[in-house]
Amino acid sequence: MKNNARSTQTESKPFIENVYAIDGGNAYLVGSKCVHCGQIYFPSNHRCVECDSDAVEPVKFGVRGKLYSFTTSHMASANFPAPYTAGFIELEDGLRIFAPLRTKKNQVPDIGADVVLVIDELWRNGEIGVMGYAYEVQ
């Protein structure tokens, strides 16, 4: 490669390890699920608090859900300049989680809208793209 050639591949890393996965081109959240009662935990844990059992196993989930609430922050936070939009998602698996939202330009979401999991670059640390999950409003 010549010295002035630019690589189109930037280095990237997940914002936190083991909370999402890409499996055969499909994106999932990674949590744990109780073998006995089916309660899902995110992030993963080692014990089911519902039935007090340590029989929890990894689970891939969280592909689809409905928008439970949302807001646009006009204050920056540690990793996001203002404005940025995020919300609570009621996943079809039953869990409700917080996540950044992706909307089309000028789209104002409705509570109850269908959302789909995407893996995206959320912010940059110098040369490194920090990857994480978000939900795209359909």
Binding site: I16, Q39, S69, T71, S73, H74, M75, A78, N79
Partner: protein
């Protein structure tokens, strides 16, 4: 357990005082409480004090300049519920007979704290924090959900701020003493939509202290007293068990327990100081404290009932929104306010002839739980 009464209380004004140390603020509140109770410093047998950002041994530091040292001092922290937690512990020490007279105090200097003017970065393993969840964002999500689920309007949320700023004008200890209109509130700077700046409590400095005494011994000092008839402190349950983020299960459970201890129905409470960190908070707490039905918080503020002069005055002090919110002081300051209200010494914001009161705080965002702590106290004249 023995009957316990409050026999005195004192507080600083709340505001921004970057030239004042926590020791200085705390000393002012403690001295005022001692004077109000008509006791001598050496009558205080033990003390429970709290601060969130004010450093170690806060109790010892604020007591020493008021002539109190060489007694048992416990220091506590429960985020915004610190002051009420300190009060509850002091109450328990007297109720169980460990001592006859205890002091509870809370002090906060937010303008000289590590978070002054900046946000603390979230821990590296805090998923939601890293993904941008901040405290105002959490409340904005509750607010939008409340509007969706119950039809509460932006005007109704703003009316909470109108009411509390009006009450603040009548309270010389209030950080803000400025009347505001619904338009001014809705058009103030957007923080996290739909929360605007004038719908958020400010950063504040201040301190408050109360003196508790066994009911039997109190007669030696004063004819004025206010009895503690309910005391509850609870923690948040797991987030996955929280059905409706627009209804505080924690506050509701704590309220039910407090009313049962007191043998009182919500409708029999004459004056309330509750945790209005944001306008949405007060609307929600009308419901979870049982002042109105679930979802009817918007109608409740619109009815005028929680105004001074209304059927059940809420936050006659101006609340966190106007009076201010020095984190650890707030819970104790609420108790100082209802103490004055029940004794008839409140001043321009005096509620007509109250005989019972309730104070409520909720706070400390903890990832994975509804919230950190909730604490409710019920008082009878």
């Amino acid at each position: 357990m023995r009957d316990v009464v409050v026999i005195g209380g004192g507080m600083t004004s709340f505001g921004k005082f970057p030239d004042r140390t926590p020791e200085d603020l705390g000393h002012e509140a403690v001295s005022a409480a001692i004077k109000d109770a008509g006791i001598r410093p050496k009558d205080v047998e033990m003390a429970v004090c709290g601060t969130v950002y004010g450093g170690w041994c806060i109790g010892q530091r604020i007591l020493k300049n008021s002539g109190i040292a060489d007694i048992e001092v416990l220091n506590v922290e429960n985020a915004c519920a610190t002051g009420a937690s300190a009060f509850r512990e002091a109450w328990l020490r007297v109720a169980t007979g460990q001592c006859d007279m205890a002091l509870a105090a809370g002090v906060e200097s937010m303008t000289t704290s590590p978070i002054a003017g900046k946000a603390i970065p979230p821990p590296a393993d805090d998923i939601d924090g890293q993904l941008g969840l901040t405290v105002p964002m959490f409340f904005a999500l509750q607010m939008r959900r409340h509007m969706h689920a119950y039809g509460t309007t932006p005007d109704q949320f703003a009316q909470v701020s109108v009411k509390n700023h009006h009450h603040g004008c009548l309270n010389p200890f209030s950080q803000y003493q400025k009347m505001l209109t619904v338009d001014e509130i809705l058009n103030s700077r957007m923080i996290c939509d739909p929360i605007t700046l004038l719908q958020c409590c400010p950063n504040s400095d201040g301190a408050a202290a109360v003196i508790l005494c066994s009911k039997q011994k109190a007669k030696r000092y004063t004819t004025q007293s206010m009895q503690v008839v309910g005391s509850v402190l609870s923690s948040g349950d797991y987030l996955h068990r929280w059905e409706d983020i627009a209804f505080s299960d924690m506050s509701h459970k704590a309220a039910l327990a407090a009313y049962e201890q007191a043998g009182i129905e919500p409708g029999q409470i004459d004056v309330i100081e509750l945790h209005d960190a944001f306008t949405v908070s007060e609307i929600m707490h009308y419901e979870d404290l049982g002042l109105c039905a679930k979802g009817e918080g918007g109608q409740f503020i619109a009815s005028g009932r929680p105004n001074i002069g209304g059927a059940i005055p809420v936050n006659p002090s101006g609340g966190l929104l106007s009076k201010g919110h020095p984190l650890a002081a707030t819970g104790v300051a609420q108790i100082v306010e209802v103490w004055r209200q029940l004794q008839g010494t409140a001043g321009k914001n005096q509620v007509h002839n109250p005989k019972t009161a309730l104070t409520h705080v909720l706070g400390g965002y903890v990832s994975g739980l509804e919230s950190g702590a909730a604490s409710i106290h019920v008082f009878k004249k």
